[in-house]
Symmetry: C2
Subunit: 553 residues, 2 copies
């Protein structure tokens, strides 16, 4: 039973990718799961809404699972909860804000009966043989924590997403003393956020953004529109504080902005005087220099408040010349074009636009290289496992750890599904368990896979070319058709010659099959497909999806 005293760490997501964070930590016959996130689809996952972790491994070990512990309320850490919690059916632990956001998600998907347990930074709680400590960290959402997991064998630390902010706007600094104390007692393994491992230096403090806001608010003579993530509650607070200071009222725009502001206010994370809020309907009556609109859309999302305003498609709000728009966010990789489009539209409407490139209107929520080093220096782990990031980030984070003296053989760059076993005298990658992505498209969870996606990809490139022929079952003669229907390939009306040529070719194939007494429809279809594919490629250099249909007569 030597193996019993080792720990097994298996990431089911968040490795080699940004998103769907989920880590399985096993000791003896008990499992604790850290986070339960989703990620947004890659560009090649056409038509897909979300991606969540494949939990086949958890399904097979259901009786061992003792709890899901949540580090904070961002989508990439909680987004899979409505899909996976009902099946896992174990207690879930998290801060009040994280659980409130999860509750909202569960309600939206009509999931009930989940055992939610509120904990706070500084709390310790026992789950099976694990003693779990929640540790205050700074991040771009409030009430974020890291976790120390104490087992009879050892202590391991998971930072969650974090940065080190010495001057956070609520005064609640990351609990460096706790990380240091754990380090002094001995941390067997550290899992730490790698997102910004490539960026040298320190992440700026959130309070820097406040200073920038003050500068712009002081000078602005028209309306001010600030777009940011609704979940960045400190950011909202700073907009509200600057508005108050300069005698402006605040109008909230966007569904998630309204919902999260409500939750955060109820829980005491957002401090906003009711009298400072105004409704959209009342803005027209107000002086422009008394107005701040706080909106979603910092990523250029089509349906967001800001984009609809910029495009002139918002029912209640329109852009006015002289508006000052502050985009208080960084484009998530892949969103650069959308953000650029909205900036172009805003300028066209006569607004002035301040974004990250122009001034300090945004700071990251993730630790840069020097902060990561500090975390390593405080916790002094024997084994180091960089998590949360693409391979390039994990790799750089691993090199940082090496530069601080962690032995190379004690650093594990993880892979999804690859089990890392760590003990006092022993560490290795052991087996690889089934893991990966489950695709969510509309109501379907997992019913879209590689075949469906490949077909969408094919259809998206050169469209569709459908052929309908009726063939006599007795003689194999062509009775009617060939009829051709195409979509996304060429303008049908202007391609009469091309289509006539295709019809001739199909007719010839069918006649040839009849002559040679080829009666098997799969074979006939195959021949039609091949002949048409060659003909179309030669004449257009395009390869639409070709679908021959034979009708029984």
């Amino acid at each position: 039973m030597a193996k019993q005293s080792n720990l097994r760490i298996t990431p089911l997501g968040g490795i080699g990718e940004i998103g769907k964070n989920m880590t399985v930590i096993e000791y003896a016959d008990e499992i604790i799961i850290v986070d339960c996130g989703l990620c947004f689809p890659r560009e090649d996952m056409l038509g897909v809404d979300y991606v969540i972790p494949d939990i086949t491994y958890l399904r097979a070990n259901k009786e061992k699972i003792k709890a899901v512990i949540i580090t904070h309320g961002h989508e990439d850490h909680i987004g899979a909860t409505p899909y996976l919690l009902p099946e896992l059916n174990v207690p879930i632990y998290g801060t009040d804000l994280a659980l409130a956001l999860i509750e909202r998600k569960l309600e939206e998907r009509k999931v009930s009966g989940i055992d939610l347990n509120i904990i706070a930074a500084g709390d310790s709680f026992q789950v099976g043989s694990f003693k779990i400590e929640a540790i205050k960290v700074s991040h771009s959402i409030d009430a974020a924590v890291g976790y120390a997991l104490h087992t009879p064998a050892a202590v391991i630390v998971h930072t969650g997403d974090f940065k080190i902010d010495y001057t956070p706007i609520d005064g609640k600094v990351i609990d460096l003393a706790k990380f240091a104390a754990l380090g002094d007692k001995g941390v067997l393994a550290l899992m730490s956020d790698s997102t910004n491992a490539e960026t040298p230096g320190f992440t700026l403090s959130e309070s820097k953004v406040g200073e920038t806001f003050e500068n712009y608010f002081k000078k602005a003579t028209g309306r001010i529109i600030v777009a940011t993530f609704a979940s960045n509650i400190h950011r909202l607070q700073q907009v509200i504080s600057a508005s108050k200071r300069f005698g402006r009222k605040v109008c909230l725009s966007g569904r998630s902005m309204l919902k999260i502001a409500k939750i955060a206010t109820e829980l005491g994370y957002l401090n906003i005087d009711e009298s400072m809020l105004v409704e959209m309907e009342d803005l027209a009556k107000m002086k422009k220099n008394k107005i701040v609109i706080l909106t979603t859309g910092s990523q250029g999302e089509t349906m967001s408040g800001l984009v609809r305003m910029a495009a002139g498609e918002h029912r209640k709000l329109s852009m006015l010349p002289g508006d000052l728009v502050i985009i208080s966010a960084t484009p998530i990789p892949g969103n650069e074009r959308y953000v650029s489009n909205v900036i172009n539209m805003l300028y066209r409407k006569g607004a002035d636009v301040i974004n990250e490139g122009v001034a300090n209107v945004h700071v990251s929520g993730h630790a840069c290289a020097e902060e990561l080093k500090l975390m390593l220096a405080l916790t002094k782990p024997k084994y180091f496992i960089p998590v949360h990031g693409e391979y390039r980030h994990l790799y750089r984070h691993a090199r940082l750890a090496e530069s601080l003296g962690v032995k190379k053989k004690n650093i594990f760059i993880p892979e999804i599904g690859k089990v890392i076993e760590v003990g006092k005298r022993f560490s290795r990658f052991t087996e690889t368990v089934q893991a990966g992505s489950v695709i969510i498209d509309g109501l379907g969870v997992g019913d879209v896979g590689t075949v469906v996606l490949r077909d969408r990809q094919l259809l998206s490139q050169d469209g569709l070319f459908m052929i309908v022929v009726s063939i006599s079952q007795e003689t194999g003669e062509l009775l009617s058709g060939p009829e051709i229907i195409s979509r996304g390939f060429v303008y049908m009306k202007e391609s009469a010659g091309l289509l006539d040529g295709a019809r001739d070719i199909i007719t010839a194939v069918v006649e040839d099959c009849a002559k040679k007494q080829v009666a098997d429809w799969t074979t006939i279809k195959g021949r039609i497909k091949k002949a048409v594919r060659n003909y179309l490629y030669e004449n257009t250099k395009r390869s639409p999806m070709i679908l021959p249909i034979i009708i029984d007569m």
Copy 2:
């Protein structure tokens, strides 16, 4: 005939976009065209290869066109030549390198009989009543020029793409004196490159990149692989020079790298000792610290040398642990993901990667704000027309001009197809002519338009749901089917229940139509479509393209 002495400036591309630069300059009844470029499709133009300008306006004024003058040999300035020159059938002027690159394109598309006229920076040439001067500028390709167009009425200046490099590696500095002399004599209108108008300060000199190369070449102990644009000949030269200095030989990889290196060497722009070149086949025999591989793939393009090496799909080259990869380029907006993917793959293969974020391994070819100001200060134009850029860049460039004293009413932020008329006492936007985009997909030029693209978009999101029914022409009864074929929608095999439900609904619709004596097939198809669309959306929250086909019996 007062209008006769005015100039008309009409951009047919390169405005509100990066790419397909083409500007029409008219005086009296003569037209000069500046550049003839293509652009790469936006993300929503599925399956499209290139986009070129719509030249309907030129077609209608063919007899007026005197010449096409080319500023430099980048795709966004010459890429449309094989498609448009045969039709325009006028003399084309450009530097030797630009024309050599155009010639290669014409050959590839088997276009011949184009009247190509080589000019050099400093040359003046007469075309109709225009005296045209080519002016040396610095850019990320050699032999780039701007143009001054002298008409009896006035002088206008078009910078082309440019930056100000005081220490270019060939010692040929941008001809600031010429721009200054033109300014002293009086420039009526300036068209100037806006790409980097948002970036404060100055663009670094190309020679800075050389310094960085030296540093890395000095330290490297394994192979060095440099990925860059083949057309950046100064960059190639710097790689070759550093290789020479440190006793390494150079292997060229990638089709365009080989072709452009050949052309540039023949024309004397690239100085490479034959003995320094090695073939891929010979690399295996060589010591690793004697090798430099100069390759395409700096944008993460799927078929490029670097990506095939990183993915282990290159026939002749594979990555080795200890390789140093220098990505000497910036991702073009939209390519960030591809570049990130190749960096991840390279790290996984054990290579070290140096890119823009890590060191000065790339500089832009476009002027930043301070350089743009210098150009404005030298040419002192009465009218200013920012060109080459998205609206945000044009807008910022316009503001820069204003800050230098150009009157706001004399600044025209252009639009594609919108004619700007400028004269000594007079300027305005006049009419808007037909202009826009022509899509190239395979062999087709312009046969893919909004309808085809919309269908591809639709198909890409939720796939296709095809229904085939045979209906009696006499009674309207269902004779066979409904058969259902779907692609890119759901796994057919696992969705038997869903498909059965759809069949029942279709059968019910057909029977209902028969009962009510609805015999019009368009109506029956419409009803089937509607019923199936609602059913599928309710059950899957997806909206595939629905294609009902009725077979005549």
